[in-house]
């Protein structure tokens, strides 16, 4: 009987945890607004149609942005934007070049929903992308 009661309480608590944590509206996402070169996704690269020549250098960029809320999560968390991580990753890969464009094949978005008895919650966005770096002359002005 005691075991059943404990299981019921545990079930109730585990049900309430996501309800409570659902109040914490958080979002994470990659963008490349810090770059001054085109970061192109998709098969069409130019206005009106057409593609750019892919560079000889291909890199896979793995980036991750996570946001964690602990406790009850009743306080709404600020919206977290992954504004710089991708830009930094691309720059480190040599994407800060002018005259060329960075092409991204796909974006891998992921969420790791982490709940423990302590009501921890974690959301991550991963960018695992095959990126072609244009082999043109680097220019400082193209960087952020």
């Amino acid at each position: 009987m005691r075991t059943v009661r404990r299981a019921t309480i545990l079930l109730f608590i585990s049900t309430m945890i996501p309800f409570i944590n659902g109040c914490s509206a958080y979002q994470v996402g990659p963008n490349a607004s810090g770059l001054k070169v085109p970061v192109l996704v998709g098969p069409v690269h130019k206005i009106g149609g057409g593609q750019v020549r892919l560079g000889a250098k291909k890199m896979t960029i793995n980036g991750e942005a996570c946001h964690m809320s602990t406790g009850s999560g009743a306080n709404p968390q600020p919206r977290v934007e992954w504004s710089d991580s991708l830009a930094i990753g691309l720059r480190e890969a040599g994407a800060g070049v002018s005259g060329g464009a960075v092409t991204v094949n796909e974006i891998t978005a992921g969420s790791i929903y982490h709940i423990s008895l302590a009501a921890m919650e974690k959301t991550c966005v991963l960018v695992t992308s095959d990126v072609w770096i244009p082999d043109t002359i680097p220019a400082k002005e193209a960087q952020q």
Partner: protein, 207 residues
Amino acid sequence: MTKAKWFVSFSESASRIVCALVVTGVVTGCGGSRTKVHLDNARYPVSMSPVMIDRDGTHVNSSGLVTVGKFQASTRGWSIGWTAIPLNTIDFSTELNQQVESAKGEAVINFKVMAAHPLAPDVFPGYFFLHWLPIWPGSVAVEAQGDIVRSMKSPALPVATSGLDQQDMEKGMNKPAESKTSLDSEPKVKKKRHRKREQRPWDNWDN
């Protein structure tokens, strides 16, 4: 119970709780979902930065582009096996083509992808112990946003035809001659309709 025995039992209980928390955290840390976002069938160029490539191959930033709308699409990615096995792949191409076309745009800039975890559809995955099961599906809400733009070099948009498309205009031009304009027809006198006012109790108070 002596102090030593109480301490031993307390430490055992505490260590069990800590172990349970660690195991729970490690196992359920894989809950949720992981999915890939594609734009394989997009008919318009999409850039994650504010810079786009123009028709002649030159870079054009936001000063050379006119924002004509906002792109927004959202969907849900599913996976099982502690997110190791994705069940679907997200492709926003259809939504992007439709929205850019309806906004008369030419490209999308400032494209970004966001992963969120709203509450309602995930109440059941919220059971942490169900995430222990590899067959239990997890999900993630994926939202894409961007600015729909046109190049300033592009030819100007046709003059707005107050909601009429080309077919309607052609139909209108082929209409028979009986459709007279207001100039060659007699002016119509609009008859004023007076609604009969109901008698109020206070209408006769002055009398």
